[in-house]
């Protein structure tokens, strides 16, 4: 009976290297994969809309109200397109390359801590696993570029491998400086576990971005720059530089295989943003956990998820009301109204969870509330980074290859090395 009950216990065990609990791990895997796929779809829509509004256009407006169904239409189109393999391509590698990229991008999600018990597993080498597996993604790009047997993809692949290797160094050093901060406790032992890193911030009562200000902040900035390069996004999107290499490493890809690359890119963006949030921005913690604590503040913060969805529902309702009354827009109006009602329902559900979970601290409702809170705050911080990705893309021109290398090796690497050394010294003196 005990063994059976343990299978229903959703907590993540800290047993080194093992998935805490097979049943829940499996459920989490499904939930996370479905969730990431949905987030990628909505990111697709959001990026096109946000970018469009930066650029004084409307973006998708036709498929569904305000183009809400555009990602689904795109996905259907890509799935029905012909899967072309160039005649001279290395067929096996060509077919397998997008899968490598996708596997690397999705595998890292098993260690991302959405909350102290909202993770598939808690590896004691979590951050190492995450950095290692996420950099496997370059293998997909290199094999894709090489196997296409075409010049543009080849140059794109070469650029990509050089770029990712260069930026990983600075990225790794920035991560190490954050890891050093985890060891500033009574025992003097740090941790590599993703959950452990957030808990260290909890114990030290400070997000690492503010620790030894500005050291933590500089490390975060370095990481934030390196992660843009790592995910091949503008202004470091040289491997797929559209105006130079047509489409870079995925020039020869079409249909579903091409969409796998896109899926992997967005999944990788979320993954690296999660690392930044975990290491420096306090993971699942709500803002100012030291000052704004106690049951009242807990309750107020637990209302945020519901209020957010309520706000989205309100925007959708206003959008419905502002739509032209012409009969041509009848279906669109209905669609947006249904979407607004759906969002409103979600908001009510989340508010209900917050209120119900507030009453009792051991019930299932309380656990649900805690889970919702943790995931909400984590995803909100990630969303900020995702918005930054779009913002960069709308603002900056693209670096040239040699300048990219210069920034990586001559600017970011020395700074991150300096930050690491200074952090170590300051940690010894003041830690």
């Amino acid at each position: 009976m005990n063994a059976l009950m343990s299978y229903l216990d959703p907590r993540v065990t800290a047993t080194p290297g093992s998935a805490g609990n097979e049943l829940w791990a499996l459920i989490y895997v499904f939930v996370i994969f479905a969730g990431v796929a949905v987030i990628v779809l909505s990111m697709n829509w959001l990026e096109r809309k946000a970018l469009a509004h930066f650029q004084i256009r409307l973006g998708p407006m036709r498929v569904g109200p305000h183009g809400l169904l555009q990602p689904i239409a795109d996905a259907l189109k890509l799935m029905t397109k012909e899967d072309i393999v160039p005649a001279d391509a290395d067929e096996v590698v060509f077919r397998f390359a997008p899968v490598i990229g996708l596997l690397a991008a999705f595998t890292v999600y098993i260690v991302i801590p959405f909350g102290p018990s909202q993770a598939v597993t808690d590896m004691n080498i979590g951050i190492l696993f995450m950095l290692g597996v996420s950099s496997l993604g370059v293998l997909g790009i290199v094999t894709a570029g090489w196997s296409s047997n075409s010049h543009y993809p080849l140059i794109g692949a070469l650029r990509s491998s050089a770029q990712i290797i260069s930026y990983e160094v600075a990225m790794g050093l920035a991560v190490v400086s954050a890891l050093l901060m985890t060891s500033l406790n009574a025992q003097g032992t740090g941790t590599l576990s993703m959950i452990g890193i957030v808990q260290a911030q909890q114990q030290q009562h400070i997000w690492f971005v503010f620790k030894f200000f500005p050291l933590g902040f500089i490390a975060l900035i370095i990481f934030a720059i390196a992660m843009v390069a790592e995910t091949n996004r503008a202004p470091f999107d040289l491997p797929e530089a559209e105006s130079e290499l047509t489409a870079g490493f995925h020039t020869e890809y079409s249909g579903l295989r091409w969409s796998l690359f896109m899926l992997a890119e967005y999944a990788a963006m979320i993954a690296v943003s999660s690392i930044a949030v975990t290491l420096w921005l306090g993971g699942w913690m709500h803002p100012f956990p030291n000052w704004l604590n106690g049951p009242t503040w807990e309750f107020i913060f637990s209302l945020f998820p519901g209020l957010t969805f309520g706000g989205l529902a309100l925007i959708a309702f206003i959008g419905t009301a502002r739509m032209p009354s012409h009969p041509y827009f009848k279906i669109q109006r209905a669609g947006l109204a249904i979407f607004a009602v759906f969002l409103g329902f979600l908001a009510l559900l989340l508010l209900a969870i917050a209120v119900a979970g507030h009453a009792n601290d051991a019930s299932i409702a309380a656990r649900c509330r805690e889970g919702v809170d943790n995931i909400y705050w984590f995803m909100l911080k990630v969303a900020v980074f995702m918005y930054l990705f779009i913002w960069y893309r709308a603002t900056w021109p693209r670096y040239r290859f040699d300048q990219l290398m210069k920034v990586g090796w001559k600017v970011l690497l020395p700074i991150s090395l300096g930050v690491l050394i200074v952090t170590a010294i300051v940690g010894v003196i003041f830690g």
Binding site: H151, L238, R398
Partner: protein, 404 residues
């Protein structure tokens, strides 16, 4: 006059001129384009075929690059994918009928093309457009220069990776195209001018529209500059990229902003004034280094100077006729004429040979893009692939004009 074997070919003193053989010219070129011995990729050098289907070659330019890694060892431009035989068409059309065809060469600056052609024929006929027509012509041509520079800026920035300026410039270019549309009914291929003046009187409210635009444009130009001029990445991507010295530029016949960015103060509006440009007060911006950034600055300043000219012109439009006395059927006396104007992209020249009939015996266009493009190889040799794209963008080429 007519060769019996090739009836379309013109002869010189009854003899067919020797034409350069296309194949032999490719063989003697600076690129060794023979097929590599191995069918697969060679580790030493790579021949990359950029275009004619490529997002950054501004149409159907094909550039064959010889690369060592990312470094450009040599280039070869292949043009002609948009060849429509405009010059040959001119020989089979009357002077009036050919006028709309010139709009299709540089379709981003159709008004300037029309101005050059009309003036060349007017010179051949020895007539001059009346003052009112000249003012209208100057206003529309300078508006066209602005529109052309805006289009260049947007696409150039897009080539370098900044997406957003494209939409800003197109938004503002729209205002100019609206004025064109109200004036003559067309936005791009305007056919705005006629030989001897303008066909249309300005519409009521034209001055108001132009003055509104004069108030509207300067903050927008500041906005583009805010996006790019001080942008670190933009500076790194354009400074010391595609440098051409004044000596080389003159030797290659480069004209327009590309020449002026190298420090040569040569603008036909000042050097050989046509229309009534000598009446207006404006500066010719020049650069110092001859790099892509200077060319950018020169064009930005030219936009402002164009606004200055428009402002002076729109406040001084005189009353009077808009057409000079030109016969219905234009039959210039036998002779030849070369007339060039400062188009947005450089010196646009028309060479017309008249045999006294209603059709030109030979019409030759000196398009600025075509001549400027010759400087591509000396500007990108030793640079990186990304610079090739930046340099192609900085020429402001229009393939309709290069290929004709």
């Amino acid at each position: 006059m007519i060769d019996s074997k090739t009836p379309d070919r013109k002869t010189i003193d009854g003899k067919t001129p020797e034409l350069p053989n296309a194949v032999s010219s490719l063989a003697t070129s600076n690129l060794d384009l023979e097929a590599p011995e191995k069918p697969y990729l060679d580790s030493n050098e790579l021949v990359l075929n950029m275009g004619p289907q490529h997002p950054a070659t501004h149409g159907v330019l094909r550039v064959i690059l010889k690369l060592d890694g990312e470094k450009v060892m040599g280039t070869e431009c292949v043009i002609g994918y948009l060849h429509r035989g405009v010059e040959k068409i001119a020989e089979n059309r009357t002077y009036t009928m050919f006028n709309p065809y010139v709009d299709r060469m540089d379709y981003c600056a159709a008004v300037s093309n029309g101005l050059g052609y009309c003036e060349a024929v007017e010179k051949l006929l020895n007539v001059e457009a009346p003052p009112r027509a000249q003012y209208i012509r100057v206003i529309l041509t300078e508006l066209q220069r602005l529109a052309s520079h805006q289009l260049w800026l947007g696409t150039h920035a897009l080539d370098i990776g900044a997406m957003t300026p494209l939409f800003y410039t197109f938004r503002d270019r729209e205002e100019i195209l609206k004025i064109f549309e109200k004036y003559c009914g067309a936005r791009l291929t305007t056919h705005a001018f006629r030989i001897g003046g303008c066909q249309y009187e300005i519409y009521p409210g034209f001055e108001k529209d132009v003055k509104n635009f004069l108030a509207f444009a300067p903050p927008k130009i500041d906005e583009y500059e805010a996006l790019l001029t001080g942008n670190r990445i933009w500076l790194e991507r354009t400074k010391n990229v595609g440098v051409i010295s004044a000596k080389d530029a003159i030797a290659l016949g480069v004209t327009g902003p590309v020449l002026r960015a190298s420090g040569v103060k040569w603008d036909i509006r000042k050097a050989v004034p046509y229309e009534n440009y000598s009446k207006f007060d404006f500066e010719i911006p020049v650069g110092a280094n001859g790099d892509t950034y200077d060319r950018y600055l020169v064009r930005m300043e030219e936009m402002r100077q164009s606004l200055r000219i428009i402002e002076q012109a729109v406040n001084g439009i005189p009353e009077g006729p808009i057409m000079a006395k030109v016969p219905k059927l234009i039959k210039p006396a036998p002779g030849e004429i070369y007339h060039s104007i400062e188009a947005p992209k450089g010196e646009l020249g028309y060479f017309i040979v008249s045999d006294g009939s209603t059709q030109p015996y030979r019409l030759r266009v000196r398009p600025p893009s075509f001549v400027n493009l010759q400087a591509l190889d000396c500007m990108v040799r030793g640079a990186l692939v990304a610079d090739v794209v930046a340099v192609i963008g900085t020429f402001d080429i229009v393939l309709g004009e290069v290929d004709r």
